[in-house]
């Protein structure tokens, strides 16, 4: 059992956890402020990954340099979807249940369209590129440069978003909207503007995460789906709309995943993820870390 104490597993879990936390954070912002269930979230990650790939292979741009551009690109996709599909519905103040159901179906449509547009444009063949793949030995743990970069950038994003939410006036408005939509409107918060900020941030972060992931994983039009699932598992573990809970749950899921797979075998990975998922939904739908919410 000594291998469980090795830094190698710890490092792998931290990297994976930071990626889960970042991707789920984007999903959580969009759900929390607008109650939109974005099951096309993984497709945004996919777009970010492709953008980084093309930037690197056509322009020789390091994905790390391209991160802001990728974020703006996927943020713009978010704004487009918000303007065309959701703004009117949100303004009409429909019941939450109806909004959740219709957003789920709309985003499902968006996800099919995006997957297949990507498949038409880039073919279904998986792609990959090599960048920052030098192996460093730090304290007896082998780390590739791109994984170190992924960890550092992800943690920086998490810290930045938390600071934004707690310190900036816009961030406080986002939090207010998450806590209570109607009350936020009553106290004079410009709901539409806050929603725009959340969409930009949520989609932008997902794209940036995709660019990070693209350095170490294969890129394909269908790579998004597992990320959608993982991020839903994470935000449900953390409590839907609970930002800090979601970040903690991202790391928790990664630790469970990495260590349980190390203990058993890779075959059990999916059973484990979905088992946790179903178990939490049935036993504690408000999330492991969440307080009971009114549904």
């Amino acid at each position: 059992m000594d291998f469980l104490l090795s830094g190698q597993l710890l490092f792998a879990a931290l990297v994976l956890g930071s990626v889960y936390a970042v991707i789920a954070l984007g999903l959580n912002l969009v759900y929390g402020t607008m109650r939109l269930l974005n099951i096309a979230h993984g497709e945004i990650v996919m777009v970010g990954a492709y953008a980084a790939f093309w930037g690197f292979s056509l322009l020789g741009l390091s994905p790390l340099v391209a991160l802001p551009v990728v974020g703006v690109l996927t943020g713009a996709i978010g704004l487009f979807l918000y303007g065309t599909l959701f703004r009117a519905q949100l303004a009409a103040n429909k019941p939450v249940a109806q909004l959740e159901a219709s957003s789920l179906l709309l985003f499902f449509g968006v996800s099919i369209v995006m997957q297949n547009l990507a498949s038409l444009a880039f073919t279904a063949t998986p792609r990959a590129y090599q960048h920052l793949d030098t192996v460093y030995q730090i304290g007896g743990v082998a780390m590739t440069g791109n994984r170190i970069a992924t960890l550092v950038v992800s943690v920086a994003i998490l810290v930045a978003v938390l600071l934004f939410l707690n310190r900036s006036i816009y961030g406080l408005a986002v939090k207010a909207l998450i806590q209570h939509r109607d009350a936020a409107r009553v106290v004079g918060i410009n709901v539409d503007r806050v929603q725009t900020v959340s969409i930009l941030a949520g989609f932008g972060i997902a794209g940036i995460a995709g660019a990070l992931v693209s350095m170490a994983e294969q890129i394909s039009p269908f790579m998004g789906f597992p990320f959608t699932i993982a991020s839903f598992v994470v935000i449900i573990m953390g409590g839907l709309g609970n930002i800090v809970g979601g970040i903690m749950a991202g790391f928790l899921l990664a630790f469970i995943e990495i260590y349980a797979v190390a203990l058993t075998s890779a075959n059990f990975r999916s059973i484990l993820i979905y088992g946790i998922f179903v178990g939490i939904l049935v036993l504690r739908p408000q999330g492991l870390l969440g307080k009971a919410r009114r549904s």
Binding site: L37, G109, V110, I236, N267
Partner: protein
């Protein structure tokens, strides 16, 4: 009752039936098309029996299909087909009954995601069971010809349609309607909410179980990943939304639309087919919340 609607159920049924009979009479291509059509009708009507009636959107209906397929494949050449196909339905229904109580306590978006996760969980458990048994796939040599299977499938599609039609007109159906409108209110006025939900959930799994069994025979090949493909669940929901889940005609119209679109485009470009399907779904959610059936209502004079 039927005449009150724009285009009678009977006419739509006749059209779908004509296509299927045509499928029986002429070569294998149309047999397969008709088989697919009947399959989607059977699946979507069953889905509608629970999700359309109660408003609990299930994104994991494939679990019944997969379990049914597994029962038939597992017992192939051990149990005769006239017994194993109904058994597939029973097994799927029993599974739904078993998980119904905990699953149906969960509501709203949690329920939608839960049904999806549950189907995936069962998929990966069975995948490991099959790997443990040393069977990565099973070949079903000597399965009945597509013609025979088409008859069974048409029977299942008709049964599912009639079932939905009957439920719509029954006390049971009224109860389910009440749950969709306001579950708490329904409970307060004495509707046995839990019992109705559990019954509808279990009932809606039976026919998909048998459909799964038939489709395993159709492909003469069984593989867990293939029969538990989440795309099947998603397609069912898409058909229901495009066709409209309000009454028994919707799923038939939706299935006709989907199979038609797929026959025209699937071979030319599967991507364009799926892009159009996605756009149709988005369009229906935004502009046609009652689906193609709603369009019929409007033409036949709104009431």
């Amino acid at each position: 009752m039927i005449r009150a609607h724009g285009l009678p159920l009977a006419a739509i049924l006749a059209g779908a039936a004509a296509l299927m009979v045509f499928g029986l009479g002429s070569g294998s291509y149309w047999t397969i098309v008709a088989l697919n059509l009947a399959m989607w009708i059977a699946l979507t009507q069953s889905w509608s029996l629970f999700s359309g009636m109660t408003g609990y959107i299930s994104l994991g209906h494939v679990v019944a299909y997969g379990i049914g397929a597994y029962v038939v494949a597992f017992s192939f050449k051990i149990v005769p087909l006239w017994l194993s196909i109904p058994l597939a339905g029973v097994a799927a229904g029993l599974f739904a009954l078993m998980v119904a109580l905990p699953v149906l306590r969960v509501r709203g978006p949690y329920f939608v995601i839960l049904t999806f996760g549950l189907a995936e969980l069962v998929k990966y458990i069975l995948l490991n069971v099959e790997t443990g048994l040393g069977k990565s796939s099973r070949l079903l040599f000597g399965a009945p010809k597509p013609d025979t299977l088409l008859w069974i499938m048409v029977g299942l599609a008709a049964a599912a349609t009639v079932a939905l039609y009957a439920v719509h007109r029954s006390r049971f159906g009224r109860g389910l309607d009440a749950i969709r409108e306001d579950e708490t209110a329904a409970e307060t006025i004495g509707i046995p909410v839990v019992r109705l939900k559990v019954l509808a959930y279990a009932a809606s799994a039976v026919i998909p179980g048998m459909v799964g069994g038939v489709m395993a025979l159709r492909s003469t090949y069984f593989e867990v990943l293939q029969v538990f493909n989440p795309t099947i669940s998603f397609t069912i929901v898409t058909i229901a939304i495009i066709g409209g889940a309000g009454d028994a005609r919707g799923p038939i119209l939706g299935a006709l639309f989907l199979v038609g679109l797929s026959e025209v485009l699937q071979n030319a470009s599967p991507q364009i087919y799926l892009i159009l399907l996605g756009l149709c779904l988005i369009g229906c959610v935004l502009f046609l919340p009652t689906g193609l059936v709603g369009l019929l209502h409007r033409k036949g004079g709104a009431r």
